[in-house]
Symmetry: C2
Subunit: 347 residues, 2 copies
């Protein structure tokens, strides 16, 4: 005989339709559903209550229908959106998890989620730090910054580093890791407020508002008279085209994202690729999922940086799941300041 089950209401955000061109709030919808809080008997699933969910640029890519499958599956119209979040385990059929555990990993944009592959979740080992950090500096964006900078870019002390979208979830960490490494680092962002943050709060050596630089190639020549050794690429398009002539021989481009391109039906085209040959550059894309085995080592190191105040982190937190669609949009209009996330519940 099956055990009695507890059913509760479960507010969630679904994808309404596949998106082409610019994302709008209407492409998503907040709907009511129901959730069962007990794990089915014999299942190894866990049921979690979602506390904080992350807004990440790559979600836009999952809202497009791909004829040829992309690196992550497309979202399905009518179904709940999914992304990284911080959750509390409510019930568990898995030996590694018990009720009350704090975890982070892929979950639903909803109040409660059944996680059928709990092996994909990470335990939270530093609950003394803000839990929200596990959607950012201690979560996927933090690991992305860490592996993109150290593993892909292979920095050396004294090198010149340029970071685009530098006040974003990943960029602010890259800049601070570059300073810890002894590099000279300049960031670009899309408002004077963000530029100010970069220079005063994150310790970038310099920063500029790209919207005020009609000649981006010339601006980079001004900020890097000796050229750029490492470009941490978050935006793509025109910025990449302006960076290439400014790279130094043997320079490296860590291609983390190209947010300026995600809403375009036709991508901006890049003309300066010949510099990859003449300056023998390495441009390398990377997926953080391939580096998950480094996570707990990274978590320990980053938690220490945070406690020693060698790294600081700015978040843009929106309250309530009803605000989640508009929060995601802010990434593409540049209205977020720092890591964008949504509080679903405080505990």
């Amino acid at each position: 005989m099956a055990a009695a089950t507890t059913t509760v209401s479960n507010k969630r955000v679904i994808l309404k339709r596949y998106v082409t061109g610019a994302l709008s709030e209407d492409d998503m919808e907040v709907v009511m559903a129901e959730a069962t809080l007990d794990v089915p008997i014999g299942s190894k699933a866990v049921v979690v209550k979602n506390l904080y969910v992350s807004c990440d640029p790559y979600m836009r890519n999952r809202m497009t229908h791909h004829e040829v499958p992309s690196y992550v599956p497309d979202f399905v119209p009518g179904e709940v959106l999914a992304n990284f979040g911080v959750s509390k385990v409510i019930s568990s059929g898995h030996p590694d998890f018990k009720a009350g555990d704090l975890v982070w990993g892929i979950t639903g944009w909803e109040e409660y989620t059944v996680i059928n592959n709990p092996e994909s979740l990470f335990h939270i080992n530093h609950p003394e730090l803000p839990l929200t950090y596990y959607t950012g500096v201690l979560g996927m964006p933090g690991l992305t910054a860490y592996v993109g900078f150290f593993e892909v870019s292979k920095p050396k002390k004294g090198e010149y580093v340029f970071v685009s979208a530098a006040s974003g979830a990943v960029g602010q960490i890259v800049g601070q890791l570059a300073k810890i490494t002894g590099c000279y680092v300049v960031g670009s962002a899309g408002s004077d407020e963000k530029v100010n943050l970069l220079k005063t709060k994150f310790g970038f050596d310099d920063a500029f508002n790209y919207k005020e630089e009609p000649n981006l190639e010339g601006a980079l020549r001004r900020f890097f008279p000796k050229g750029i050794d490492i470009y941490f690429e978050n935006v793509g398009g025109k910025t990449l085209d302006a960076v290439l002539p400014n790279m130094r021989l043997g320079g490296r481009i860590a291609a983390c994202g190209m947010i300026s391109q995600y809403n375009l039906e036709q991508p901006e085209r890049v003309g300066n690729l010949f510099y990859i040959v003449t300056k023998h550059l390495r441009m390398e894309g990377f997926l953080v999922f391939n580096y998950y085995d480094m996570y707990y080592r990274f978590e320990k190191e980053m938690a220490e940086y945070l406690k020693e105040r060698k790294v600081t982190y700015v978040e843009d937190i929106v309250e309530g799941i009803d605000s989640a669609p508009s929060a995601l949009l802010k990434l593409f209009t540049g209205h977020n300041v720092g890591k964008q996330l949504v509080t679903i519940a405080h505990e």
Copy 2:
């Protein structure tokens, strides 16, 4: 008292003016000069008689005036062109060289050249093979193919390899090295004659004439239904744009050259770079000069392949220095078949 010196006439090719846009024969001129066959007393220079000189695409780049210095110095209008060649030492002030030695390295497009930095020359250890091979398969293009394939692309047995400009000086070698490694290799070229060469003489698994494929992206999907692991990039522009969506996860692009772009005042622009992120590709330029310490190891290995007929090499040889300007032009019109070189003297 200075020794008596021997002076002879010295026909040479000079750059007439800096080139913008398409190269024409008129940008070069064959002129008469004089050469002194003796090394000045106390100098460590060597004087060489040039036998064969190589025509290489990168020479076009040196004919453009660069405001910011490029990776190789610009040629100077009025002065003799320089490039890789096979030469015989006539007189030497350097302990490593003596009259009669056969060498290859950078020399002038002229009958006799004073080499002031003979350390830059390589000794020819396999004169039993055609000496012309030292402008190609046993010279710079051979080493380029070797390091670009093995060191940059890091191939594994069974991988799918695409080579553009595949019948050219470098491409034909890359394809054959790929077959030796156990890869599946397809090449593109610009005429049916070249496509035929690829399939019958060089052992490519398949080949196609890119001029007959208006939809290059679709053509590549046909030739590589499972995608491309390694793209050996010789042409750039439209071809690169068509390759990117066809790359497999974790694929590598060895950026050796972009010949389709050299004569353009505005480069073709590439729109598909976002695949570098989503497929976590590595695109890497390289300069063969950085791998010169591998040369003699390479020479030994490649000489064995040639003797065992595991590698074959096709050359397009033009007789006489007067024909050198038109021979160089053939690279850009695609009228050469195989490695383009010029005979200045037979010994």
